[in-house]
């Protein structure tokens, strides 16, 4: 009996390793920015003195952020084609979307269909959150109390869903709603990483709220391959 138990445990471990290694490919890369970065524009927050007080030195608009290394931040990269009809269960852990300093954090993010989308108000002023999906149900909720949290879900894939605050017109964010977990957002160094991709032929898309979208084919030949690709956006 003991031996049978040991064999069963070994088989479970082996199959877990095998399954994991079947989805161990990684796509990494950078999003470059060509041309002159737009001059930073100051955000006028005078519509709410509470917001102004949170930024005594002022704050710049964050719709276009060109990093010091010439890369572009806040580009949403995702697998657009190639996954076929595979199902990926939505995580139970929520994606957290915060209102802090009268700005959305993060500004660009991804969430899976039916994954909890937790909206938090970390500010001492009131906000409201108006999501404008074209394919799921819209919502517009008031969040007047600091610390309050609301959970929503998006039921249909859509790239991208705009979210705005109807009280503070400068607050905007975009959410990529996907039925799979293969997406990333370029960071302060312009890098992105998509992990655990199965072997196959894919089309990846990089989306920026001002500069539009570009695609690139990627082939993952081996289960543990690491592929490095680059996207580039030009100043308009």
């Amino acid at each position: 009996m003991k031996k049978d138990h040991l064999i069963a445990v070994f088989m479970i471990i082996l199959s877990t390793v095998l399954i994991s290694s079947a989805y161990a490919a990684t796509v990494t890369g950078k999003v470059a920015f060509e041309g002159t970065a737009p001059a930073p524009e100051s955000l006028a927050m005078d519509a709410d003195p509470n917001c102004q007080m949170m930024h005594p030195d002022g704050v710049n608009m964050d719709d276009v952020v060109v990093n010091s290394n010439g890369t572009l931040k806040n580009v949403f990269i995702y697998v657009k084609e190639g996954l076929g009809n595979q199902n990926f269960e939505a995580p139970k852990d929520p994606v957290v979307f915060d209102q802090k300093g009268c700005q959305y954090h993060p500004r660009i993010l991804g969430v899976q269909v039916n994954q909890p989308f937790e909206i938090v108000n970390s500010d001492s002023t009131l906000h409201n959150v108006h999501a404008l999906p074209g394919k799921s149900a819209q919502f517009n909720v008031g969040m007047p109390i600091q610390g309050m949290k609301i959970r929503k879900t998006f039921t249909t894939p859509e790239v991208m869903v705009k979210i705005k605050c109807e009280v503070h017109p400068w607050m905007n964010a975009y959410v990529g709603v996907l039925n799979h977990p293969f997406f990333s957002v370029s960071g302060d160094d312009g890098n992105f990483q998509i992990k655990n991709l199965p072997p196959g032929q894919y089309v990846l898309e990089a989306w920026h709220e001002k500069y539009g979208a570009v695609t690139q084919p990627v082939t993952i030949a081996a289960a543990d391959e690491t592929k490095d690709i680059a996207f580039s956006f030009k100043a308009s």
Partner: protein, 300 residues
């Protein structure tokens, strides 16, 4: 007299309400208060951001609603003309319905049809209050209609021009609430309406010293201003990116254009009503034949 003064004050307050509503749309504040009839569960929320415009609009609307109720009750108490008392009921019903429409637009996240209907009903209600103010005025009650051969033609001209203005306002509401749909037709109609107003004004000016002349000149003046405001609103829309369309300049032109449109419509209604009150067709045109008196019983 006091009833008339109150009606005129209510007309002025309604015009302010139309401006307040225009500001809500122009600043994109329509959904800044997600609940109704309270605002964030309160009578008085923090007046920040878009809430300043939306909640101010609700406060003014509430005041206009109460004043309309007072007007209705006052008409019942003081007015002998039954049709005018009924008009007071219609006005109160209108403002209540308008409030409900406002709630529906918020709760159902600005459905286009409801938003357009809410905008058009606002204009209609304003004209109704202006009409009640006219009906309670001495100009109306003491009027002695004067025969004029141009009466019928003038009335037709004023009535059809006012109807065209109303149509133009509906188009304007569609443009405002559908991110610019139908703007080409609205611009084309603007010139048609302008020409009609000019023709109407010149017809009225042929009646020397008539009480219609001053409001007619005002109407013409408004029409000229409106053309420039409309061009300004259009230029702002074309020139500015989406993020700038709620800047001060764009908000000013869009709101001023909308409010001036309301004044133009109300002035048209005023002139049209007066043209029916102050004129009558000559007896011959009214189908009354003036037969010679028979010589009767003349004794030689």
């Amino acid at each position: 007299m006091w009833l008339n003064r109150f009606s005129r004050f209510l007309a002025f307050a309604t015009f302010l309400l139309i401006i307040a509503g225009g500001l809500v749309t122009s600043t994109g504040s329509g959904l800044s208060v997600p609940d109704w009839p309270l605002s964030y569960g309160q009578f008085m929320p923090p007046m920040i951001g878009g809430i300043r415009f939306e909640h101010s609009h609700r406060l003014i609307a509430g005041s206009v609603g109460i004043m309309t109720l007072v007007l209705m009750l006052w008409l019942f108490r003081a007015e002998k003309r039954v049709w005018l008392r009924r008009l007071g009921i219609v006005a109160f019903g209108g403002v209540v319905f308008q409030a409900i429409l406002g709630g529906i637009t918020v709760i159902f996240l600005l459905p286009t049809f409801v938003s357009v209907f809410h905008a058009c009903l606002a204009q209609t209600f304003f004209c109704l209050i202006v009409a009640i103010a006219l009906f309670t005025s001495q100009l109306w009650t003491d009027a002695m209609p004067v025969e004029s051969e141009q009466a019928s033609q003038l009335r037709r001209l004023l009535l059809t021009t006012t109807a065209l203005i109303y149509l133009q306002l509906i188009l304007g509401a569609i443009v405002r609430h559908t991110a610019g749909r139908g703007v080409g037709l609205h611009v084309l109609m603007a010139f048609v309406v302008f020409i009609r107003i000019v023709l109407s004004v010149s017809s009225v000016m042929k009646l020397p010293g008539h009480p219609l002349q001053t409001p007619a000149l005002f109407w013409g003046f408004l029409a000229i201003i409106q053309i420039f405001l409309g061009l300004g609103a259009l230029a702002m829309r074309i020139m500015l990116g989406e993020s700038m369309r709620q800047g001060t300049g764009a908000v000013f032109f869009a709101t001023a254009h909308q409010a001036t449109g309301a004044l133009i419509l109300a002035t048209g209604v005023y002139l049209t009503l007066l043209s029916f009150r102050l004129f009558k067709e000559p007896a011959s045109q009214r189908g009354i034949s003036l037969k010679p008196v028979k010589e009767c019983c003349v004794q030689d």
